[in-house]
Structure formats: structure tokens, C-alpha cells
């Protein structure tokens, strides 16, 4: 059996590439580490010196203002230096390969790469390349690759669920929407099953579900009302507008009617159910405003926790 590429020979996290196959003890360690980081935002100096002198490169081959910004804030709160590269507008358009870009940045003494790429597996490729070059002191964090994984989003979702629900092992969690194209959904499903959440549901039209999605250990519902019944946690996924152009969906209005989260559908879940969304949301498409802004919504706390979780990931991989 080959070693999990994100772990050192001692089983410690040195890159974060995916939640699939990540041991529960490491997930718990990340969530525990994130907890005291939340309060750093309340200090007069919103910084601790843990990663002082480290250089973190945000390598975003695909746009994402929110994820890039939260990684940047996380690194700055740890006192690291952050360099944002707008790759689309630079070397790759001149023909440089991904690994040549990485080698050049290593020659500039990079310590950490945060990578967002439209191709699944790009962060794995970089991590393997660094190992092959003997650069075990340089770390890679996946900030979303293709349809594959978005592990820090999955971790911040787990953090949010644990914050409000305490114990994973008695929960029913529903993930609603475009599971087919969603790396957020994939990472969260792996995280939830690792943490032994007994009932993970996906709710979507058949056209937006991967084939054999059941093999991930989830129950499938095509009827939203049926799927929401008795849920403790509802995770709404963003409906990407470009899906409307293909033959996958008739219209945004039709989608909202069947799969949009409204107050009356939310009433079918448990009375203390929380509503989550990874953002950015399309109000009136997958979620109506009174729910998004309502008392059960924890969408903005998710963003705040996301910074603490990313601080935890950066500080853990940097030490290994």
C-alpha cells in the first residue's frame, strides 16, 4: 500500500489535499486547534507570531475571491507573508508549466502553497513534485481542485456543525443541490462519514447527482420535503448559473420551486436545525432570503470559523 501523500512517515499532516482517507484523529486535531484561533480576531492586535517569517503563495489558477481572501487573512493572523499570484494573467498564459511555476516560486523561498485549480489533482501533482525534489519543508494546501475536493471548506463545515451540535454521532445531515459538480459536497461527505455521522443525505434532481453516489455512504432523495424530514443540519449548495445553459435543468424558477429552501420546507426539519451554505449564495434560486437571513442560518458564522480553521491547517502543516 502506498503512503497517504498528505501524511509524513510518522502519520502527521504535511499537506492538506483531500478529506478522503484522512484519519478521524487528524480531523479532530484540526478542529480542536481551530477553536482558540477564533478568539484572536477579538484582540487589539489580531495576530499571533506563529508563522512569522514564512512565505505563503496563493496560487489561484481559478478565481475565488472569498477563499483566497480567507486564506490570506488566516496567514496574516499567523504573521506569515502572503503573496497573491494572479496566474491567469501571468506566466501560464506565456506557456510556463504548472511545475515550472512551482519551481520558480521555490527558488524565491516559498514555504507554503495554497492552490486552487480547475483540474482535479493539481495540488497532488505539486505535492508529489515537491517530494521528488526533496523539498519536504514546503507544504501544499488544496483550496479547491476541479470537481475533486475542497478540504478546508469541508473542515469549516465540520467545525460549524460541531460548534452548534456538539456530537457528530447522532446527527442527520442533508446536502441539497448540485452535488454532481460540487467539490464542497464531496469533501463534506467524506468528512461527515469519517466523523461517524450516522445519516448523511443528498437531496437533488437525478441530473445533478453523480452516478453511484450511494457508494459514498449517503442516502439519496429526489424529493426535498421527504429528504429534509427530521434533519439536524441542512447544507445548501450553490447552483452554478452555467448549469442552466446545459440540459440539466429547465429554469432557475423551476429549480427554486422544487429544491429551493423556503420557510415551509425548513419547518419539516428538526426545530433546532441549522442552515448552512458555502457561499456565494443565489438568493431566490437555492435559498429564499427570509431563510438565508433567519435565526437558523449559520452562514455568516461559517465564514468566521473558516478563517480559524484555515489558521489551524496552515499552522499544523507548517510544523510537520
Amino acid at each position: 500500500m502506498t503512503r497517504n501523500p498528505q501524511l509524513t512517515a510518522n502519520g502527521e499532516l504535511t499537506h492538506l489535499l483531500t478529506l478522503e482517507g484522512l484519519p478521524a484523529a487528524i480531523v479532530t486535531h484540526i478542529l480542536d486547534t481551530a477553536e482558540p484561533f477564533v478568539s484572536i480576531a477579538e484582540r487589539e492586535v489580531k495576530k499571533v507570531p506563529l508563522l512569522r517569517g514564512k512565505a505563503m503563495f496563493n496560487l489561484f489558477f481559478e478565481n475565488s475571491t472569498r477563499t483566497r481572501t480567507t486564506f490570506e487573512i488566516a496567514a496574516k493572523r499567523l504573521s506569515a507573508d502572503v503573496i497573491n499570484l494572479n496566474i491567469g494573467a501571468s506566466s501560464t498564459t506565456k506557456g510556463e508549466t504548472l511545475l515550472d511555476t512551482v519551481d520558480n516560486l521555490c527558488a524565491m523561498n516559498a514555504d507554503l502553497f495554497v492552490v486552487r485549480h480547475s483540474q482535479s489533482g493539481a495540488p497532488h501533482l505539486i505535492a508529489a513534485h515537491l517530494t521528488a525534489k526533496g523539498r519536504s519543508h514546503v507544504h501544499v494546501v488544496n483550496a479547491g481542485d476541479g470537481r475533486h475536493a475542497h478540504p478546508t471548506q469541508g473542515l469549516l463545515d465540520l467545525y460549524t456543525i460541531r460548534h452548534y451540535k456538539k456530537d457528530f454521532r447522532a446527527l442527520t445531515v442533508a446536502i441539497v443541490g448540485d452535488v454532481l459538480h460540487s467539490r464542497v459536497a464531496r469533501s463534506l461527505i467524506h468528512g461527515l462519514t469519517t466523523m461517524q455521522v450516522p445519516r448523511v443525505r443528498v437531496i437533488a434532481p437525478r441530473t445533478l447527482l453523480p452516478t453511484k453516489v450511494e457508494s459514498l455512504g449517503v442516502e439519496v432523495f429526489n424529493d426535498m420535503r421527504e429528504g429534509l424530514s427530521g434533519c439536524d443540519v441542512i447544507v445548501m449548495l450553490r447552483l452554478q448559473n452555467e448549469r442552466m445553459k446545459g440540459a440539466l435543468l429547465p429554469s432557475a424558477g423551476e429549480y427554486f420551486k422544487h429544491y429551493g429552501l423556503t420557510g415551509d420546507k425548513l419547518a419539516l426539519a428538526r426545530p433546532d436545525a441549522i442552515v448552512m451554505h458555502p457561499g456565494p449564495m443565489n438568493r431566490g434560486v437555492e435559498i429564499e432570503s427570509p431563510v438565508a437571513d433567519g435565526a437558523r442560518s449559520v452562514i455568516l458564522p461559517q465564514v468566521t470559523f473558516g478563517i480559524a480553521v484555515r489558521m489551524a491547517v496552515l499552522s499544523i502543516v507548517s510544523a510537520n
Binding site: H29, T33, P36, S39, R43, E44, V45, V48, L50, I316
Partner: protein, 172 residues
């Protein structure tokens, strides 16, 4: 170690600390315990010293100088300083003063919350071995202990403190 080879009683050392601090510590000085042993002592001091002492707790994990060597320790706690650090008179409280590195980290952390008027240091045990120019203002007891040993403070279910010696694992 004391001449008879036994560690002194932690409660007696605490009594000695209280005697030295009574009358010397400002009546409104905040007591800030360094987790975890220092936090227990700060709680006890707050109950026994005259005056009204705001109580705070500090976890120096993010400010330690050995992060690059040993990483973050598990179970880091939240630093909680529920008073305005700017202008405050503060007594840092720790269980064992050894190299001085934890105290250096704690002072740095305090300054990220504001500019205190004064910081003093109160320790239950001073075991020598300093690697930094740091001394305690108030000391319960002084001990000489071999470098390959750590002094560990424990608290039982009734709240009573005790000291024991263990093979060194962590630099204090």
C-alpha cells in the same frame, strides 16, 4: 531538591507566596495565570489576596520560540483577559520558573492586548537554570533540580496542589 531529598509541599509554598505578595501587590492588580499550573495558582491567589483582582488566563503556545522545533501542542486553550490590559498593573503567575522562555512568550502576548502599566512575576517554584534575563518578583520556594528532570504541579479533585518530579519532556 531540599536537603532531605523530598519536594516541598505545594500548599506550603503557596502560603509563602501569599505572605510575600500581601501588602506588596497593588489592590487592583490583575492576576494572569499561565496555563495550566499557573492558572490554578492565580485562582487561589485571587481568593486569598486582599483587594479585588481581575483574573485572566494565558496560553503561550502561539508565542513560544520552539514552534519550529516541536509544532503546536495539542489542547491549546483560549487566552482570556477579561479586563483592559492597557494601563493595567499585572502579576503574571506561573507554577515553575526555569529557562524563562514561557515568561518571555507571555509578556510578548500581553503586549498584543495593550500596554500594561507594570508586569510583575509570581512563581510557586524557582528551579534556577535561566536562559533569559528574567527573574520572579515573588517566589514561593527555590529548588535545585537536575536538568534531566521536570517539576510537575498537579491538582487533585478537591483542589489541593502537589509537586512531583518527572523525567524531562518539555522545557518549561
Amino acid at each position: 531538591m531540599t536537603p532531605d531529598g523530598h519536594l516541598p509541599d505545594a500548599e506550603a509554598a503557596l502560603d509563602a507566596m501569599v505572605e510575600r505578595m500581601r501588602g506588596a501587590v497593588a489592590h487592583d492588580a490583575a492576576l494572569v495565570g499561565i496555563y495550566s499550573g499557573g492558572a490554578w495558582i492565580a485562582e487561589r491567589l485571587a481568593a486569598r489576596l486582599p483587594g479585588a483582582h481581575p483574573l485572566g488566563f494565558i496560553d503561550v503556545s502561539y508565542y513560544r520560540d520552539d514552534y519550529a522545533l516541536s509544532g503546536l501542542k495539542p489542547n491549546t486553550r483560549r487566552t482570556a483577559l477579561p479586563f483592559d490590559v492597557s494601563g493595567a498593573s499585572i502579576v503574571l503567575v506561573d507554577d515553575v520558573l526555569y529557562t524563562g522562555r514561557s515568561v518571555r512568550a507571555a509578556i510578548n502576548e500581553l503586549f498584543d492586548f495593550g500596554r500594561p502599566e507594570r508586569i510583575e512575576l509570581a512563581v510557586l517554584v524557582d528551579r534556577g537554570g535561566r536562559e533569559l534575563p528574567i527573574e520572579a518578583t515573588y517566589t514561593g520556594v527555590r529548588l535545585a533540580v537536575a536538568r534531566d528532570r521536570s517539576i510537575v504541579l498537579s491538582r487533585d479533585s478537591g483542589g489541593a496542589l502537589s509537586l512531583c518530579v518527572e523525567p524531562a519532556g518539555v522545557v518549561g
